[in-house]
Symmetry: C2
Subunit: 891 residues, 2 copies
Amino acid sequence: MSSTVTTKLVYDFSEGSRDMRELLGGKGANVAEMTRLGLPVPPGFTITTEACIAFLRGGREFPPGLREEIDEHLARLEEDAGKRLGDPDDPLLVSVRSGAKFSMPGMMDTILNLGMNDRSVEGLAGLTGNPRFAYDSYRRFIQMYGDVVSGVEKRHFEAALGALKGEVGAAQDVDLTAEDLKRLVGTYKAIYQEHYGSPFPQEARAQLDGAVRAVFESWENRRAYDYRRLHNIGHDLGTAVNVQRMVFGNTGDRSATGVAFTRNNVTGEKGEPFGDFLVNAQGEDVVAGIRTPHPLHDLKGVLPEAFDQLMQTMDMLERTYKNMQDVEFTIEDGRLYMLQTRNGKRSALAMARVAVDLVDEGLVDERESLRTLVDAGQVRQLLLPQLDANSAADPLAVGVNASPGAAVGEVVFTADEAERRGREGHRVILVRDETTPDDLHGMIGAQGILTARGGKTSHAAIVAVGMGKPAVCGVSEIEFAEDGSGMRIAGVAVREGEVITIDGTSGKVFAGEAPLLPPQADSPELLRILEWADRVRTLKVRTNADTPEDATRAREFGAEGIGLCRTEHMFFAEDRIPIMQQAIMRESAEERAGLVEQLRGFQEDDFAGIFRAMRGLPVTIRLLDPPLHEFLPKLVELEVEVAQAKQAGTPDAEKEALLARVHQLHELNPMLGTRGVRLGMEMPEVYRMQAGAIMTAALRVRAETGEAPLVEIMIPLVAFEEELRIMRELVVEECERVLAEAGGERIDYLVGTMIELPRAAITADEIARQADFFSFGTNDLTQTTLGFSRDDAEGKFLTHYLQRNIIPTNPFDTLDRGGVGELIRIAKEKARAVKPHIKLGICGEHGGDPDSVTFCHEIGLDYVSCSPFRVQVARIAAAQAALEEAPVSMA
Amino acid sequence: MSSTVTTKLVYDFSEGSRDMRELLGGKGANVAEMTRLGLPVPPGFTITTEACIAFLRGGREFPPGLREEIDEHLARLEEDAGKRLGDPDDPLLVSVRSGAKFSMPGMMDTILNLGMNDRSVEGLAGLTGNPRFAYDSYRRFIQMYGDVVSGVEKRHFEAALGALKGEVGAAQDVDLTAEDLKRLVGTYKAIYQEHYGSPFPQEARAQLDGAVRAVFESWENRRAYDYRRLHNIGHDLGTAVNVQRMVFGNTGDRSATGVAFTRNNVTGEKGEPFGDFLVNAQGEDVVAGIRTPHPLHDLKGVLPEAFDQLMQTMDMLERTYKNMQDVEFTIEDGRLYMLQTRNGKRSALAMARVAVDLVDEGLVDERESLRTLVDAGQVRQLLLPQLDANSAADPLAVGVNASPGAAVGEVVFTADEAERRGREGHRVILVRDETTPDDLHGMIGAQGILTARGGKTSHAAIVAVGMGKPAVCGVSEIEFAEDGSGMRIAGVAVREGEVITIDGTSGKVFAGEAPLLPPQADSPELLRILEWADRVRTLKVRTNADTPEDATRAREFGAEGIGLCRTEHMFFAEDRIPIMQQAIMRESAEERAGLVEQLRGFQEDDFAGIFRAMRGLPVTIRLLDPPLHEFLPKLVELEVEVAQAKQAGTPDAEKEALLARVHQLHELNPMLGTRGVRLGMEMPEVYRMQAGAIMTAALRVRAETGEAPLVEIMIPLVAFEEELRIMRELVVEECERVLAEAGGERIDYLVGTMIELPRAAITADEIARQADFFSFGTNDLTQTTLGFSRDDAEGKFLTHYLQRNIIPTNPFDTLDRGGVGELIRIAKEKARAVKPHIKLGICGEHGGDPDSVTFCHEIGLDYVSCSPFRVQVARIAAAQAALEEAPVSMA
């Protein structure tokens, strides 16, 4: 805007179109489009976003020419209506609405009935013969204007309205008479003056200028600023202002107002349009829920002509926008007016149905549908039973939404009981203070998991996400009965065997059986969308799977290999952990190696099972990662036991020795301690055994199937090239030993590393020299880059940060592009500079998050890897990323 | 080396000079220089480093022309000597030595007497009339050649020598007769053949080729590779090979061999040169310590002419090299030969003395002296009493060298006892399992601190470094007596009151009083060097100080402000911690604020004291940083107490409530938990109180002194711009409130942040928008970038990494340039791009490490900040960095 003189600052609705969102805002562009289509839109004009920016940059003064352009368009509007703004006898009333390029809560919204004043209210009353309508309109205007333009809080007006209703004995607003409303106007004006400091403005043109100014200024208020920051919307876009002639749904029984969807927004079915309306009401009443609206269908009987016209209009809008529409309309004395159209928000079910139907109806092609009608984030919901939120009662408590989906079952408090009842065919919810590897069999038997402690990275959460089972964690309101017979949740007693419902999507816990919606994982609509996605995407999708069962399931969901097979859980089985514990207790490397060797057979079976399940597809196996003390009893418990034994005069020497070793291995910050490759360096016998077992398993599976598994061995937590060089040497040595011993044809394998420390990313060029592939471990990389311990952050400061909008999204769910993403980008560039074809992927839950998948596509990774239940989401997100335009969210 | 034909691969000593280190290696260049100076150097030639590289790249074949060039130079050597290599009657013998550009352990070192064989030994015996000498030379040659060229381990030869001595009853090697040695040669040849597989080579030219080849190949052996990697020496430099005519110090009583320094290497005094010699010996005997050498001074009486010539030669060398020299010489039949000269290693004391004396003697100017004669790393040693390592006995145990310097004192096991005895004037060493803030008064009273647990970041270590007191931590061999009366260190009993010595420089612990060297902090030499440094450096040096005492001391050491004033310790004082504990126990923000306000007066006094001490200089105060639970009792101890009380039937409700809150605040990884700005967000009342107290203190000190303190308020642990924006707003609001309340002239202040998380570095452009300055908190930045918890790494895997050469230096001592340094560089560039004049510094112990200071200068920071006792080191290192050439290490 180098010169405001030559720039047009105001557009008549008839001058715009849907392509002018940037200049006219979303609302202005849509109203212009409807006008262009010849639909019955009350006339009006839009003040451009550029005018807003000029206003804000120019010391909050209207830019030169704006006032004149408004005058000009207003004159045209008055001429067209045959009424004048502020006319005492027959006033033109207008609405003023903000409308930025992107829909944006937090800005000033709507002022209706602008143009009312002490004299025109009388004129309107006389003209319409409806003084009640006139005073009702005036008092609404004073309140809205007071609230949004002059900052007089709504509650003052509402208190006065309540007081009046009490005084005259009116149950509802509609019970107030014209006389009552006239009195209320007086009271409202007094309130306005008291709180604002000067009388309510009577001059209509001043009212309009005030409203326009308020919309402009609302662009810079805190909530709007935060919203833009959190959604990466530019602060320099500005908002448009729409000024539109008022039409009235509240002039009598031939008037109405309503909202409608062009298709059922829950099921997605076409059938009849779907919506609500109220006779003799203004728009806000439908949304406010003060009166119960009627289903749109009934409008046919009340105002059949307007209904038919609405149906035709909606059909035309859907064809124009090639998307399900959500419209607002008003009928004034039998005549239909369209006030708004936009893409309609819909359920996951409806999303899939609409995406497929619009292709079948020929409105869009597959790619267009994928790009504009499919919301990858909603796909996840299709794969799990969901709480029917509309029918659910109030929850007992809300915890951390640790693993999505809903489950109903009998409460049990031990893993054994969960397993027992599960085997008997009962649906159970396992409730624990927190879970440990010892609870695994109970978690397998349960429908869902509920814990009193822990966040999204607690054992319960991680295992549940992996199993695709709902989990609610960290419900601090749970108090367990001392005798193990029951618990209280926020004071409500729940005994063993009683039924509860948990909703892992929202974190809510309900008493009894709440209504659930069934999963839609194999709905024909979803399967078609996935087919389209696979044709479009270039990013491969693998899965994180530690068992043949998970691997098989992920394969059914379309996984193209395993990106992360963790080996930790394999050591926790009942017949293995005592061996591992003994090994750790030994300080002699030789003795340790002997014990570790006892695990080799187990590991061979583990890996063989996974290779079989993933036949023909690559499998990345990560060597042992966690801190050693995870294999030992907990320090605090042991400390208490030892102290109590001493106190009782029966000291336990064996436990004391164990305690000493636990102390030795105890770490203040285990996340930053002896883990990953550091463990491999301290106990090389473990990595050696694992590498050998992998190769033996590969040979075994090749012998069975005739096809060699595609083996990728991954060393975790590398920070220095030298660490990887040494461990690679060890792994290769052992693999080659096994191959040489077996004779025959060799099996190729890759050795690579996880990039999960900032140093590894920053020195990726060095580390790449030792690696055949990189897998970005974004969970740990997020922890170290941000300095957030997930365990300590979630439910604590991170939750507060999200609540206070300090950060936009949980960085453990959606990749932090600015920090972690930038490190990944640096690493990719450095690695490819020395090894142009090094294979790059990410593992960690980000691999199943649509925004993160988009990022991975954009920077050119080869694959993402995520839990089995997110593979389908990732396939779609990868396709959408390939279509190079972020999908519109419709949740 | 595009063409080997045109490249000269061999240089006669007379063709080179000291400037040709790159091509001829350090040794070759020095020998050439001595030749050029006309000094008596046995003739010889150097095969270039380029020949080595061509050999290694060319499939380990001598490059074309090399053999011919060697022939040619050898012929000249033979002609000059009038002897021929391998001649049976009068053989030329040569030495073969490696010599890379940088002195580098791990490569093949030296072969003497090359050219000996079964026939020439007889010739030599006949010619010299000294068969003992001839056979002694031959057996030495077989052993050296076998060991370094053919890989026959030395121990086989040594075993045979031992057996022979036993058999003939010889106490020392010199007791063996010619006949014995002749037999030994036979045995050695058999050993060679047995282990190498073919007979000892008799052809002298083949011996030479083998030796040259072995030197070339040793460039690529593991130890040499590791050394280069750790010292950032290019792998493509290659090593030169020096072939030199042998001269013999073992031909009789007019022969000798020795090493000498041009000045006293312990005191630095000029006086007489300083060294050792042996009559009738070969060079290796002096170093090997088999015979006790005589002081150089005695040579005057034995071989006066050679002695005088040596004195003149050394004087000339010192003038040529402008540095104290360390020479090797041999006297053959009364004639002096110089074999080697190099800059001599020296003590810290000698370093300072030599640096100053050489300026006074006019050999170098101040800048040259700073650049080439001062080792900043050694300066630290001058400031503390040091162990006299030459006189110390064997240590009882070795722990973590947590804080340098040595201390002697009576052992005490409680802080109270340390304080009591300290007040009585005793020197005490406080020994604890680990220290806590409760031990502070004891640490103040003690000479040094010894702990059984913890590393360089343990409470003991950090406090000791801050106090400039020696500390040895993590001595796991300490077992405390149950009754508190004593301990055992590695089995040796030490009772309370017994004297021990700790050496925080090396981590050693000694029984009794070990000999110490006194500190030299105000030696005139050091003060002069510091004056020079201040004239040269551009980097400012500040200090990390939390008390007026530390601030004052640092100022005496030349600190130009406080770069980091931690406020944590201020809360731990006896009269404050109960208030803080109560505040933390409250969940209501209002109640908390009330309690926190009780600390305001204390904080005002704290800050006023520091402002007074730093009058006229900037003071950066960091708002409260540590996790809240540091203020509460320890979880494990409390858990045990509560369990024991229950077991005893006397449950303690108050303790149980405390335990519940401790549980709530307990963190799995406190390093990555609710600390720093996150704490400020959770408990804004603390930051508000601190900001207000800072400003009130500043006003108070201005009123007293008439000069306003230079206030810089620092928010720690920021990861997101928004965190800093919010906290800056809060700080500014409170400061302005205090200023407005006080009236009068305002006091300016800066608000900035620590960059101590990778995300903060990566998004420094965003964060800089809210900051007046950045201080890189390199301790924490190292922890998160490398994923190393300092507490858990030191003494555990990090120690093993250092021992195994996986990383070159402790990244908590010397900045990891490749990872952490690169992040700092990125941050600096991003920050300066949006705010070209933003003030940048580092705090943390790296600020006192010479290499890290050099880095800070190189990338253009404004200042470094370090503990008071390292300020002088930093001043010198900053000057050396400004002189743009890394100083030569002389330790």
